[in-house]
């Protein structure tokens, strides 16, 4: 199958209160690609995923998953996708294994096949030892891994991950990344994920779209996006602090911008590794002595900041706070369910 796994044309969702959550979004995800959706809180990431997985109905526009229309062939769409939602959706009162088998039943997978797959998946996410324990006793990382296993039970063609590493500790996050890479490598699975961890998007995704206020602001490979910022940042200091060599540096090809800051020159440059020696030569040819030199590659942090106007750090704080609150709420509700009639 060489079809595009996900084709989205002008997809729009307007909620009842006239809130435009997703605003004419169009893109294509190729078979076997890992596609990342980056954006601040409330940008429309989860709403977009919920339309793909047919939980929400689009207001306008269309999208196909594995070639099936999400509005008209929703049952075929559901058959070919797997999803790991943002919340922990496993049933706390059941065991891990029971949860996986329940998911299998929802896909109509016969018991003899589902039992075999459940064993494999539990092994993959390293939960075999805990499979007969109630999910209520699981840690956050274990629950996330269980969600992953549940989402994979129907061997999906396209796998949707909504913030797969949100609130996980460093080791569990790294382990999750490994699972995602493994899925792509072993099964050639198409993966659509949302995240607000930039390093994660940078490392895992073949292509990224940054979305804010329901609109895609920019889309491309992580490298394209970084280069789109205008290249690498080179910082040069020279011995003679009175001289100004800005014009001299600007003459070098591939130099985009030169700023003198605190006695050093901050230079935006394309293909930093190759251009840097040329700049140094040019400076030296004029008789200046270079005392300090640094070359930094732009990170997605800068891309994100450039296009959303928000630093990821403030984002992260509010996000963690939101999550903590959610968990507290769930606990409270959990207590009430158990105590209730």
């Amino acid at each position: 199958m060489l079809n595009d796994a996900l084709v989205v044309e002008g997809l729009t969702k307007v909620f009842n209160n006239n809130l435009v959550a997703v605003d004419h979004v169009s893109f294509t995800v190729k078979e076997g690609e890992i596609f990342g959706f980056l954006g601040p809180n409330g940008a429309g990431k989860t709403t977009t995923i919920n339309m793909f997985i047919t939980v929400l109905k689009p207001t306008e526009g269309r999208a196909t998953v594995c070639g099936f229309d999400i509005a008209k062939q929703s049952s075929e769409v559901r058959n070919c996708l797997g999803v790991v939602p943002q919340e922990y959706t496993a049933d706390e009162d059941l065991t891990g294994l029971e949860n996986i088998l329940l998911c299998a039943d929802l896909y109509g997978i016969p018991r003899e096949i589902s039992e075999k797959r459940a064993t494999e998946l539990l092994e993959l996410v390293e939960l075999t030892k805990f499979k007969d324990k109630q999910v209520a006793t699981y840690s956050g990382g274990m629950r996330r891994r269980l969600e992953l296993a549940c989402g994979l039970i129907n061997r999906p063609h396209v796998f949707f991950l909504d913030e797969p590493t949100l609130g996980l500790d460093v080791q569990t996050r790294a382990a999750t990344w490994n699972y995602i890479k493994l899925l792509k490598k072993e099964y050639g699975m198409t993966i659509f994920m949302t995240t607000h961890y930039l390093e994660e998007a940078d490392m895992l995704c073949d292509r990224i779209a940054i979305i804010d206020y329901g609109k895609i602001i920019i889309m491309g490979t992580p490298n394209d996006l970084k280069e789109g910022l205008g290249g690498d940042i080179m910082t040069v200091s020279i011995q003679d602090s009175k001289a100004d060599i800005s014009d001299l540096i600007k003459k070098v090809p591939k130099v985009k911008e030169v700023k003198k800051q605190d006695g050093a020159y901050r230079i935006k440059v394309v293909d930093g590794e190759e251009t840097a020696p040329i700049i140094i030569d040019a400076v030296r040819a004029e008789g200046h002595k270079v005392t300090r030199l640094a070359l930094t590659k732009p990170t997605l942090d800068e891309v994100y900041l450039e296009y959303t106007g928000k630093s990821i750090r403030e984002e992260e704080e509010s996000r963690e706070g939101f999550r903590a609150q959610r968990i507290a709420m769930r606990r409270a509700r959990g207590e009430r369910t158990r105590g209730g009639p």
Partner: protein, 299 residues
């Protein structure tokens, strides 16, 4: 990577899995199970033994003036006792209020269990479980029917407990013609009413994310449904306006059917009306539920 690995499955797949999931939460939790058994015992002791309406008539022994000769006194007391029995029979259809109430209590526990069925729908939506189920190819109607069936199974189990307890702490004055067929009829009637009632309450919960709303609706409706029926007190003694309400209250029909089958000599005509009403009630509301679930489970 088999894409169409589930093409040949039957359209009801997942129905039992979802039903069983809800049931597991219940039967694996011994405390809830125990409370479910204790609750009807409390109700039956309070309503059937403490508030025993029948004893108003039967335990009445008048002190007669001593001028009346002894044999006549005995005759009067005998006559009064007969009269009170007759009064009981004509009002309650049985000489024993406990039996009358105990059978009504079966409809009551069924009603109560069905009313809370919407709660788990609200929790599933809040906790995200519903979204996950909605992203799988399981039929929308099955999601709703699973909730209904799990409520029905729990309700029938509770009703069985009530019947068992009534029999043990009784005496339950079972009619002479009682057979296994009557018992099946009792379960059929309770099945229909619990299906109809839980459909209604799940429908109320279909879009809701607030358990407070559910609780408010349950609190608002449980007493009217119970007391504006013949479950605890005969409708014939109620004022006209209340009798009208009892005539559209499904609890009345379920109670009448179960009383006829357990306590009274069966009036086939009335029983047919009861079952017709209950059948229509269950079919109409579960159909509405399935139809609306196509439209409204996904937002």
């Amino acid at each position: 990577m088999t894409k169409n690995n589930s093409n040949s499955k039957n359209p009801l797949h997942g129905l039992w899995a979802l039903t069983n999931r809800d049931l597991k939460k219940w039967y694996k939790n011994p405390i809830i199970l125990l409370l479910g058994i204790i609750q009807p015992i409390i109700w039956m002791s309070l309503l059937g033994k403490a508030m025993n309406l029948g004893s108003m008539f039967t335990s009445f022994s008048p002190t007669l003036p001593s001028t009346i000769p002894q044999p006549i006194q005995e005759q009067i007391i005998q006559a009064m006792s007969d009269l009170s029995k007759q009064a009981m029979l004509s009002i309650f259809g049985t000489a024993d209020y406990f039996s009358y109430m105990a059978v009504g209590m079966m409809s009551f526990v069924v009603m109560f269990t069905a009313m809370f069925s919407g709660m788990s729908m609200v929790f599933d939506r809040r906790l995200g479980f519903l979204n996950k189920v909605l992203s799988t190819p399981v039929a929308r109607g099955s999601i709703l029917m699973a909730k209904i069936f799990s409520a029905v199974i729990r309700a029938l189990f509770q009703a069985t407990i009530v019947l068992g307890i009534a029999y043990v702490i009784g005496p339950l004055s079972v009619s002479a013609g009682f057979s296994i067929l009557n018992l099946l009829g009792v379960y059929a009637a309770l099945f229909l009413i619990s299906m109809g009632l839980s459909s209604i309450f799940i429908l109320i919960a279909i879009r809701s994310t607030r358990q407070e709303t559910q609780m408010a609706v349950v609190n608002l409706l449980n007493l009217p449904l119970m007391f504006a029926s013949n479950a605890l007190f005969p409708a014939s003694l109620m004022p006209d306006w209340l009798q009208t309400i009892t005539k559209i209250n499904p609890v009345t029909y379920a109670t009448d059917a179960t009383r006829q089958l357990i306590l009274y000599t069966v009036d086939m005509h009335q029983l047919a009306i009861d079952f017709l009403f209950l059948g229509a009630f269950a079919v109409i509301f579960s159909t509405i539920g399935i139809v609306l679930s196509w439209r409204y489970l996904s937002k």
